[in-house]
């Protein structure tokens, strides 16, 4: 179920006078059963990249392989349904996609499209709603009566209900309150535990280090770096400035310490790690 990109280039309006190249020579492999975070400044091509994961965009040249399905520029729209059943996609502000009369009906929309029987669809919609903590007494309400945070969860359930092997989320934490953010990270961890491949875009480095196994850094439509969080976040501080990215809080703290004469053997990723390292390396000062 791994995902590979081979020499993928993408332009909007390819072949017209207004062709706008976005992605350049992308070669990546996203491993199965892992959480991969995609980071990079606004306009670096992150959202364009993830829209290739379920064929919403097709590469202008090159190919994307998801499990045994290959997507190239010549792939027909009809062949993509199978791919879309495998990939649950949660867009930025997914609450804008809600349309049905009730919460449950809205979540059932995906499974029904992918050929589930009504009662199967209902069951999987219910378990998806439980997974994202939407209380049962809201299931028959109109989705438009819910609060913003609840709408977000319902929309996420909508993407998870068809039980995809791959879950892709574009800035899922944007605009959530701290509790909502913590629950989101827990959801990602649970999805990973149940063997799914998760890809998410984030601007919050603390989220990245807390759940991601792999990090892909995008810059100007190129993949700048791919590696584990420990690799990526131990790069030179000037490099981070050059790609306009922050360090996680623990890393920022360590940099401040270093500027004030307390150096550590490597950059810690989490506050726990920072505390442990300080304890071990500077115990007798």
């Amino acid at each position: 179920m791994a995902i590979t990109f081979e020499q993928v280039n993408f332009s909007y309006g390819a072949g017209t006078t207004l062709a706008n190249p976005i992605l350049h020579d992308i070669n990546i492999t996203i491993a199965d059963h892992q959480v991969t975070a995609i980071i990079g400044q606004t306009g670096s091509g992150k959202s364009t990249l993830i829209q290739h994961l379920n064929g919403l965009l097709k590469p202008t040249t090159g190919q994307v392989t998801v499990d045994d399905l290959i997507v190239t520029n010549a792939t027909k729209e009809k062949q993509l349904t199978k791919l879309r059943a495998k990939v649950g996609m949660v867009f930025q502000f997914p609450e804008n996609q809600l349309f049905a009369n009730t919460v449950l009906e809205d979540v059932m929309y995906g499974p029904l499209n992918f050929g589930y029987q009504t009662d199967e669809a209902k069951q999987s919609a219910q378990s998806a709603l439980k997974m994202v903590n939407v209380a049962e007494n809201l299931w028959q309400n109109s989705p438009f009566e819910l609060s913003g945070g609840q709408m977000r969860r319902v929309a996420m359930a909508g993407a998870l209900a068809s039980n995809p092997d791959i879950v892709v989320m574009d800035e899922p934490a944007a605009g959530l309150d701290p509790k909502g953010q913590a629950e989101l990270l827990e959801l990602v961890a649970n999805l990973r535990q149940s063997g799914k491949l998760v890809v998410f875009i984030s601007h919050q480095m603390d989220h990245v280090v807390s759940v991601a196994d792999q990090v892909i850094v995008m810059q100007d439509g190129h993949v700048a770096v791919q590696g584990t969080p420990a690799d990526v976040f131990n790069r030179d501080i000037d490099w981070f400035k050059s790609v306009n990215l922050d360090l996680p809080r623990a890393g920022q703290f360590a940099e401040q310490l270093r500027a004030n004469g307390v150096s550590l053997s490597r950059r810690p990723l989490t506050l726990t790690e920072l505390a442990t390292m300080l304890n071990e390396e500077h115990k007798h000062e």
Binding site: T17, Q51, R84, Q97
Partner: protein, 267 residues
């Protein structure tokens, strides 16, 4: 979504871009009006020359205009076919069942095609070289005399400019919602006509909800910044006719005079 050229503004600093929007609007309307009287090869050739000159002056590639014509290709084809089969006269060139194609019919069809193409190219020149807000301002300025008979011109122009401003936003929004529903397995290309029509519902409802929400947000944003009515607002960009506008008007006048000359001499 990305290749619709009708009404799209392409930024630039060409001679046409720098014209006063009112000039462009008046010239375009004059041209369309004149085209209604075109009836011979000479008049069509003259009009085509005028359009080609205007296109050159926008300093945009011809391909851009060609792309702009593509979406309405079927509309042109439809009118051409109508003209081809429904123009009576002699000599008859050939029959297709009860329909007959006459020589005047063929001529008419070609004329209509050229007329259609030229009118659309001319309007494309205007919209391509003028930002939507300038078009609304020009309209407001040109319709100002109607204020005397209590037509709320300023309000109408503001509504128009807001509507135009929302077009790209709503197109973006449509694309986003379409992507979201496609990811959930929405398909327009399977099933019978009823099933296909029903497939639009998950697209339309979020679009309407979003548009209403946006409208409310905009109304609030305008009110907290002190908006009362459109008429008493001043403009950041004051429209002023310049030397190039005089040149454009004189050029158009010459075009119209030659056109009338050709019509009178009956070429």
């Amino acid at each position: 979504m990305n290749n619709i050229m009708i009404g799209r503004f392409v930024p630039g600093s060409s001679w046409v871009h720098r014209l006063d929007p009112r000039t462009k609007m008046i010239v375009t309307f004059v041209f369309i009006f004149v085209m209604l009287f075109a009836s011979s090869w000479a008049t069509y050739a003259l009009s085509a020359a005028f359009v080609i000159l205007a296109i050159r002056l926008t300093q945009q590639p011809f391909k851009l205009y060609w792309d702009g014509l593509k979406p309405i290709f079927w509309l042109i084809l439809f009118t051409v076919v109508l003209q081809l089969f429904l123009t009576p006269g002699t000599p008859v060139v050939f029959h297709v069942g009860p329909l007959q194609v006459t020589w005047p019919g063929i001529l008419n069809a070609i004329y209509v095609m050229i007329r259609f193409t030229l009118i659309i190219l001319m309007s494309t020149i205007m919209t391509l070289s003028t930002p939507p807000t300038s078009i609304a301002n020009a309209l407001e300025s040109l319709l100002a005399p109607l204020n005397k008979i209590h037509v709320p011109v300023a309000e109408l122009a503001l509504m128009l400019s807001i509507a135009l401003r929302f077009v790209p936003l709503l197109m973006d929004e449509t694309q986003k919602i379409m992507n979201a529903q496609k990811s959930r397995g929405m398909s327009f290309s399977t099933g019978g006509p009823i099933k296909r029509a029903r497939a639009i519902v998950p697209l339309l409802i979020p679009l309407f909800v979003g548009a209403l929400q946006r409208a409310l947000d905009l109304a609030n944003a305008m009110e907290i910044r002190g908006f009362k009515d459109a008429a008493s607002r001043t403009k950041y960009r004051v429209l002023l006719y310049g030397r190039q506008d005089v040149v454009a008007f004189i050029g158009t006048l010459i075009f119209v005079l030659i056109f009338i000359g050709i019509k009178i001499s009956g070429v």
